[in-house]
Structure formats: structure tokens, C-alpha cells
């Protein structure tokens, strides 16, 4: 887990992935903007919430690589079933 799981990809593929994520974030932001205009009440709140959570997941997954840490949680929870690694 010490090395980045993407390390053996080229810089180019990774840059491209970053761009795609950014476009997805931008699209969601624009959608939010119009959701706020077109909808109201609980429906609006729900849609905005869903969109914000999606954006947060994109950032946490692709930009912040939360898997690097999340992957440790199962072996913490697994009690004594620790495994040897790097």
C-alpha cells in the first residue's frame, strides 16, 4: 500500500483521467444550478444533496485516493487475521 496504485500508468493517462473527472464535476455543478431554479421544496433539497454527494465521492475517490486508507479498514476490523504486507 505504500506505492500509488496508479504508479505504473503513464502520466498522460492519469492526466486524462483528471480532466474527465473535472468535466463530470463541472456538469454536475451546472445541473445543480438549474435544479435550484427549476425545482423547489424537498425535491430540490434532495436533488442538490445527491449531486453534492456525487461530487464529493468523485473528489474523494479520484483526487484524494481514499482507497489508500479505506483498504486498511477491513484488516483492522478483521481482528487477528492480520496479513503481512510490504
Amino acid at each position: 500500500m505504500t506505492t500509488d496504485s496508479h504508479a505504473n500508468e503513464t502520466q498522460r493517462t492519469r492526466n486524462k483521467r483528471g480532466l474527465i473527472v473535472l468535466i463530470a464535476l463541472a456538469v454536475l455543478t451546472v445541473v445543480e444550478f438549474f435544479v435550484a431554479i427549476w425545482f423547489e421544496g424537498v425535491l430540490q433539497l434532495t436533488l442538490l444533496g445527491v449531486s453534492a454527494v456525487l461530487k464529493a465521492l468523485l473528489i474523494a475517490h479520484y483526487f484524494m485516493h481514499w482507497r489508500q486508507v479505506l483498504d486498511h479498514i477491513p484488516d483492522i476490523a478483521a481482528g487477528d487475521a492480520d496479513v503481512v504486507e510490504d
Binding site: H72, I76, A78, G79, D80, D82
Partner: protein, 615 residues
Amino acid sequence: MTALKPLGRAILFALIGFLIGAGLSAALVEAAGRDEMKEPIIAGGYMFALIGWLFGVGVWGSWVREWFGATVKPFHIEGWGRYLGFSTDHKVIGVQYGVTTIVIFLLAGALALLMRIELADANSTLLSRTDYNTVMGLHGIMMIAVAVAALMGGFANYVMPLMIGADDVAFPRLNALSFWIVPPVAVLLILTPLFGGMDTGWTGYPPLSSQGPTGNLLFLMAFTTFGLSSILGGLNFLATIITMRAPGMTWSRIPIFVWAVFAASLISLTATQFVAYALLMVIFERVFGMHFFDGTIGGDAILFEHVFWFYSHPAVYVMILPAFGIELEILSHFARKPVFAYKWVVRAFFSIVGLSFVVWAHHLFTSGMSSELHGPFMVLTELISIPTGVVFLAAVGTIWRGRLWLKTPMLFAMGVIANFLIGGLTGLYVADVVTDLNFQDTYFVVAHFHYTIVGGEIFALMGAIYYWYPKITGRMYSERLGRIHFIGMMVLYNVTFIPMFIVGAQGMNRRVADYPAEFENLNMFITVSSLLLGLAFIPFVYNMVNSWIRGRKAGDNPWGARTLEWQTTSPPPEENFETQPVVVEDPYGYGDPDAKHFEFPSGSGHVAEPAGGDD
């Protein structure tokens, strides 16, 4: 003299920081045309003073310099001087926390006696009502700070890395930082009476706290700063326990105290942010003129209570979980029996953590909170009794039919069982909406939480002090004075607090300097016994100081305990273990002569006296 240099520099930098901060804020206030506002100047000055203090004491020299590409100058002094600077050794920091919290504990105890003297008769005699409130608030917040920091900052810091066979915590400099944040807290609290005091008690409810004298601001800033220290400590302990366990120290082999610290750290790390925000809201009201709690413009004073108790209920488990851990640890070692139902205790700890986040509103039953919430919060609160009961039964199960070795630490640990039973059971009465509507804000609540915090945690703290004293100082305390302390404290503590249930049930309010004359007799009784209880601490203080100087050498493992902290010298060397211990089994194999918790594979390691196989 060199030993005092860091402190002197810290004070100087703090003063300079205060002047800069106060100057900048004064300029801003003037630019905004609000010359009448004084509190922004104090708040701005304090922020810069805090930074100056931290930089002066060592954050600059042993940390931030590095960011500028300069080499750091780590603090390194031998002898007593090492306690006066930015040492990164977890053992030094543990002692710093421990001694600081005990001093604050004794001071806050003196404040309590002052209140009791005032309460000996029904009228205000000794203290004015405002002064009484200030004394009460300071007693409360200082004791809360002690309860949060003594076990976590003091003992978790000192013992936990040793118990898991690590050479330090994960982030040693952060650890030093969390300790050095604490002295400014004490300074602010001591200054509070000079700025008009505070009327709110330790809970600081607005609108009183946002309108009262400037003393309130100092209290709020102190509490917020203290929260920061607690968060950083929790973060450090979690990272340490996850990543720094000795080889072979699997999750089911770690001592129960380490699990308790893990669970409590989860709460410090997360919930504390809520109290920081609750207090910040009041600070913002005072400093920036914002309005969170003013119903006329859409705010709501209940907001504070929700956010505040979202921390402060879980915080009681930051206090009691490590106490449970110490209790079970001591019971097991002195009964020479394994911790009963170890895995269930660990599960119970985590259930407590989970549930502690969803019960906060049991403090709001009488606050005008929407009444549909009463039922759910009552049930959720009472659910906590289940995991708490598991821990209680595990404690009883651990000593069940054991051959008890009744040394002072063991006496205190057994005291915890008895006292916490009363504290927990009376919790049910205040958790039940129907009874709480009568008991809220009476001495019944006061008695309840003193039974949990003093009877539970402080007794465990005393047990921990006697248990690890030989390890930390290398010397043995006087067993006779220890027993006198225990008997005095156990008897007088109960004699002081049991009558509070009675006056509370009869309707005597808490947080008052005078009260209806019908309660006078019982209150006189309480006051006398509380003064005697204060006397019971004299043998304790004498014992601690005297034994440290001329107690007999304790040896490495005077209790024949199996956990790793006893398998090195007393006190341990700076790197904790000369060779890396490895763990082969859980530490509680008492009664099995072949059981062993650890080994030193490289052979050459420090060999302590045989551990625990003597039963």
C-alpha cells in the same frame, strides 16, 4: 538556568504576540468605526499570543524552521529541565500532562470546598451570588478538563506506546504541541475572575454567555483551545495504535486499556469539533456581533444546546472509557485472572462509542426541545446501559473467585466497580423523561455525574497513579499511606455525595448559592464531610512527593504483571525497549504457567524479572 530558557522565550513571544494581535484588532475595530468594542481586541490579542507562546516554547525551533529549509534544533535536556520544554518523548509528555492535571485537580477541588463552605447555611454569606457562580463555573470547567486530559493525556500518553511495544507515538512533535496548548488554557481560566467572572457554569449556555461580562469570553476561548489539544491527542493515539504495534501484537492481543484509548480517541477526534463550533458561535456573537441565538431574527438558543451536547455527552465517554480500561487492567493483574469476556468488552466499547453520538438530547428534556424527540432519546440513552452493563459484568467476572491481591491500585479499581454502579443506575432516573422532568437542575443530577466522574473516573485515575507510579518514577510509594488515602476517600466520598441524591430528590436546585432553609441540615452535613474528604488528599500528595524523592527502588516489575510496559527498566530508557519485543500471545494468560505474552527474539534484550508466572 538553561532549563528555564524555553519557558522564558515562550512568555516573551506570547507578550509580543498579544501586542501585535491586539494592535491589529484595534486598528480593524477603529476602521469599522466601532470604538466601543473591546472584546475583538482581547480575542485578537489572545490568538496571536497563543501562536507566540507555541512558537517560543519550541514549535519554531524544533518544527517550523524545517519548512523554511533550515535545520531544526530538537529540544534535549537531561534531568528535571526536560519537563519544562518542548520534549517529544511521550514519557516526558505523559508526566507533564499528569502533573499539570493533578495540580489543576487540587485547585479545582479547593474551589469546590469554597462552594461547600458557602452552602453550609441557606443564605449567601461568604460569596456574593456572582462570585459563587464564577467559582462554580471554574470548578466545573477545570474538573472537566482534568477528567478529559488526565487519563488520555497523562496515562494513555505514558503507558499506551509502552504497552504496544512502540518507541514513541506516531507524531511526537504533534504530541508535544497538544500538551503545550494546555498552559494558556489555565492562564485564561485563572484570569476569568478579573474580567467580571462568568455566570453560566461550565456549559456556557447563551444568551447568558453571549451577554455576560468579558470573563465569559476568556472562558469560551479557553474551552475552545482545550478542545484543539484534545483533538490532536486523539488523532495521534489512533495513528499510533493502528501503525506502531510491536510485531505479533495482533488486534486480539492488545491490552484492554489500549482498546479503551482507541475507542475514546475516536470520540475526541470527531465530536470535539462540535464543541469547538458551539463555543465559536458564542465567541462570534461577542466579537463580530453575529446572531445565532436571537429568536427575533431567526436564530434559536436551542441550537447551542444541540451542538454543545453533541460533543459533551460523548465527552463523558472520553472520560470513562479509559477509566474502564484501567479498571479492567488492574483487576486482571491483581486477581491473577484474564480479563473476563475480553472480546465482548471490546465490542461494548465500540457500541458505547456509536451510541454516545445519538443520545445528546437527553440533556434537553426541559429546554423546550420538540417533545416528539423525548421518547427516542430516552430509549437510545437507556440502550447505552447494555454495553455499559457488559463492561460492569466483565469487571465482576474478572475478580470472580480470584485470589485478590489487595494493594492500593486494586482497592481503587474495586472502588470504581462499586461507585460506578451507583452512578450508572442513577443515570437511568435522569434518562427517563418522567423522572428527569423533576430531577433536572437539582442536586440529584449533581450526585449522578459525580458518581460517574469522581466515583468512576477519578477513582480509576488514582488507581492508575498507584499502579504505574513505580514504573514512572522507579520508586515505590508507601503502601500504608496509599491505603489510608483509599479508605478515607472511599468512605468520605460516599458520605458526601449520597445525601446529595436526597436533597436533590427533595427539590434543591443546583447552581445556587442560597436555598430554602429546610435543606440546611443535610447541607451542613455534606459540607463537613466534603471538608474531611479534602483532608483525605493530604496523605496522597505527601506520599507522591515524598516517595518520588526517597521511596525505595521499585524494580522493573513489582506487580509481576505481563503487559509490555513492565518488561523494561523503571523508568524506561528514552527508546523504551533496548531490543524490540515481539508478542506471541495475549497478555492475560494468568494461571497458565506456560503462557507468555512476549519474547525478545534477538536474545540480548533487557531481561526483566519473570512476569506473572508466579500463580
